[in-house]
């Protein structure tokens, strides 16, 4: 296990070991992949509430007046249009329109922002911001001191009500508020990566183990590893950075143009506009297999006898009981078409489909009981 020596650890590494989690490297961190088993954990989140250690992800605090700084140019999100205490999903792009990272922006003040980024890209993203951001009063990487736990599942609101009061039920999808928990005033946002009703809790690292234990002491809550996090997000058709999207793919190719604000200037816009005009040469495709056999990363996508691309994410879907996946195809393939996914002697019959694969997620439910 020498390869684990150089890995970063979250404040919860000993808690995971006590729970006899399977630990493995992810994005430079030693992370829990599973506790009781991926399928059991997956199903628990769809029906109850699951707790995820997401302390590996990065957070930046930025103080920047939009009229005096170029912060708006560094992300595809429409920052001006964001109400206070709201969150938006978007991208940081390079000049070619390639995705440096996908991220969440929190508007914590009229000129104050928190940007939440992927673990493996935190340093890269921070350097990019440092290099390009002008006119800001503050740019701080708080990833070392700020931890994050995700509580996801239809019972998440009830669980949190017991800890922070009924105010939590007033949070709408993609908004956040401040709640007092363990003597700290913390940000809790109604966001997540599972498709279920859920929350992300930002707590100083030194209080993370206490928060973890407190949440796990609720019998409705179980710890969930990155294995189930991956199957949960894939059932929703959410992209995973480094696997489905990267610096060589654009939001248009990834089918994520919705998260680009075309009304403003941003790095990469001219390349994206050109791509929009010329048409993309490859596009993200979602597919569902006709059996439990699951497509895997790099399997070839074959359509009408022609090799048209490769699978980027593929897995067994615990909710649907069949294989599902996503990948890029170099031609337009309508939904409902038959394709095959192949590697060596393996041939999986599949049909193209629209995301999400799993359609009963509770994430956007309006009124919370």
């Amino acid at each position: 296990m020498n390869e684990n020596l150089a890995l970063a650890e979250t404040p919860l590494v000993n808690n995971h070991k006590k729970l006899t989690a399977k630990l493995a490297p992810f994005g430079g961190w030693l992370m829990p992949i599973q506790y009781s088993g991926i399928i059991e954990e997956h199903n628990w989140v769809r029906k109850n509430a699951g707790l995820f250690d997401i302390c590996h992800m990065g957070e930046f605090i930025i103080q920047a007046d939009l009229t005096k700084s170029n912060l708006g140019n560094l992300v595809t999100v429409n920052l001006e249009g964001m109400p206070l205490d709201s969150c938006r999903y978007g991208f940081m792009l390079n000049e070619q329109g390639g995705i440096i990272d996908d991220l969440l922006v929190y508007r914590i003040g009229s000129s104050e922002w928190m940007i939440v980024v992927n673990a493996a890209t935190t340093d890269k993203d921070f350097s990019h911001l440092k290099k390009h951001l002008t006119g800001a009063r503050l740019l701080e990487n708080v990833s070392q001191s700020l931890g994050k736990l995700d509580l996801q599942g239809p019972l998440a609101a009830e669980v949190l009500t017991d800890l922070v009061g009924p105010g939590i039920k007033g949070l709408r999808y993609y908004t956040f508020d401040y709640f007092t928990l363990l003597g700290e005033e913390i940000i809790i946002s109604r966001t997540g990566y599972t498709g279920e009703l859920g929350y992300e809790l930002y707590m100083p690292n030194n209080k993370i183990p206490e928060l973890w234990e407190k949440l796990l002491s609720d019998r409705r809550v179980k710890p969930i590893g990155l294995g189930a996090r991956d199957t949960l997000r894939l059932e929703m058709g959410y992209s995973l950075y480094g696997q489905d999207i990267d610096e060589k793919t654009t939001p248009l190719e990834a089918g994520l143009g919705y998260f680009v604000d075309w009304e403003k200037e941003f790095i990469g816009k001219s390349s994206l506009l050109k791509q929009k005009q010329d048409g993309v040469t490859r596009r993200m495709l979602c597919f569902i297999a006709d059996s439990r056999r699951s497509p895997r990363h790099n399997y070839r996508i074959v359509y009408k006898g022609k090799d048209v691309g490769a699978v980027t994410s593929g897995s067994f879907s615990p909710s649907l009981g069949v294989g599902i996946g996503m990948g890029y195809a170099d031609c337009e393939i309508p939904s409902g078409e038959e394709i095959t996914l192949c590697e060596n002697s393996i041939v999986i019959n599949a049909k193209t489909t629209r995301k999400p694969f799993y359609k009963n997620g509770s994430a956007k439910s309006g009124e919370i009981k």
């Binding site: 399977k22 992949i33 991926i38 399928i39 439990r292 067994f316 615990p318 393996i346």
Partner: protein, 129 residues
């Protein structure tokens, strides 16, 4: 990890239960544990010839697909059809309900290359250190 006394084992974590010139084969408790939830199994068809240490089945877990090698050479007499709909039987019962196939052994001499339970126990203890 359970290692029954009446089986023989390979270093790739397959087991064989010998009964005259026949053998029932499968993967060990250690194997199912390291694979995690098994979601699909591709078994050899009855009538197929399998060769010792060569591919005989594919096991898919949520995370990955892995090859399974035949512990002995021979002709496949029967495959466990239950596993098509219920691959999780291998997680629940690797040595009983989760058997893969029954083969007619081509060369009994090959069993000398397999580990006995004591050797296999030592072998997996060494792996988990």
């Amino acid at each position: 990890m359970t290692v029954p006394d009446n089986l023989l084992y390979t270093k790739d974590h397959e087991w064989a239960k010998l009964d005259g010139d026949k053998a029932t084969i499968g993967i060990t408790d250690f194997a199912q544990h390291s694979l995690g939830d098994i979601t699909f199994i591709d078994l050899p068809k009855p009538g197929a010839q399998v060769k010792q240490s060569a591919w005989c089945a594919t096991v898919e877990s949520v995370k990955a697909a892995s090859d399974v090698y035949a512990p002995l050479s021979g002709e496949v007499l029967k495959a466990n059809a239950e596993l098509t709909a219920h691959p999780e039987l291998v997680n629940k019962s690797a040595y009983e309900a989760g058997w893969f196939a029954v083969i007619k052994i081509a060369d009994l001499e090959e069993k000398k290359t397999l580990m006995n339970p004591v050797q296999y126990k030592e072998y997996i203890q060494g792996l988990s250190k």
